[in-house]
Homo-oligomer: 100 residues x 2
DNA sequence: CAGGTTGTTTTCCATAGCGGAAACTATTGC
DNA sequence: GCAATAGTTTCCGCTATGGAAAACAACCTG
């Protein structure tokens, strides 16, 4: 019942990346980069962390194969959902500890 | 309009601490400690960060003044609210970037 | 009020994470 | 081939984190 926060997803930048991908399907890396305010290297590393975890898939699609496209894997979507559930659980504070 | 995540509040342990305090009013430190799974020193430091930011107030109340009680300050409540708003904004992904 | 006990904080140390700049790789278009 | 573009990796410094142990504070008992 106590869904846990996912330490891979939780950090702010990665949370935003996941949220974008969950909402947006397959997005170009540059689109994500423009949305977040991160240097190319920093973004690359955050995305790599999500890829390493198996949460995000990277592909070079289209005619210009320099460009990378990102999408959530099934596992990533599941982990994201679990993370969001955990956030809700915490924020809604369903479990208020008894003070007696 | 774009509420930002608060870097003081965002880290998992501190988010939980704030959520507990917002929901629970004034709580004993030990109660918080039992709820989170942290060593005394680690908890103390996380709480100290919130106190330094002006988000949490610490008092020694009651007959046994060894015990520390925690509560949110007005500023803390406001910051927490802003943080949660930002989370909702991100998660609800109202702003799906256009892919065209 | 000395001495032990409990609750919390601080110090110390080791580790992990983060971000930017610059170097590097791969690909494109001329 | 060569310049430009897209991304990644390396390097480096800095901050955050957490546990153990020492220190500190407050209580309790005889």
């Amino acid at each position: 019942m106590t869904a846990d926060l996912d330490p891979i997803i939780h950090p702010a930048h990665r949370l935003r990346i996941c949220a974008m991908l969950v909402a947006g399907g397959t997005l170009e890396l540059s689109v994500v980069k423009d949305h977040l305010d991160l240097s190319p290297s920093a973004l690359s590393k955050q995305v790599a962390a999500l890829v390493d975890a198996g949460y995000v898939k990277q592909e070079r699609l289209g005619s210009d194969t320099r460009r990378v496209w990102l999408s959530m894997t099934r596992q990533g979507r599941k982990a994201y959902q679990g993370h969001v559930d955990a956030l809700r659980e915490i924020v809604n504070a369903t479990t208020v500890p008894s003070t007696d």
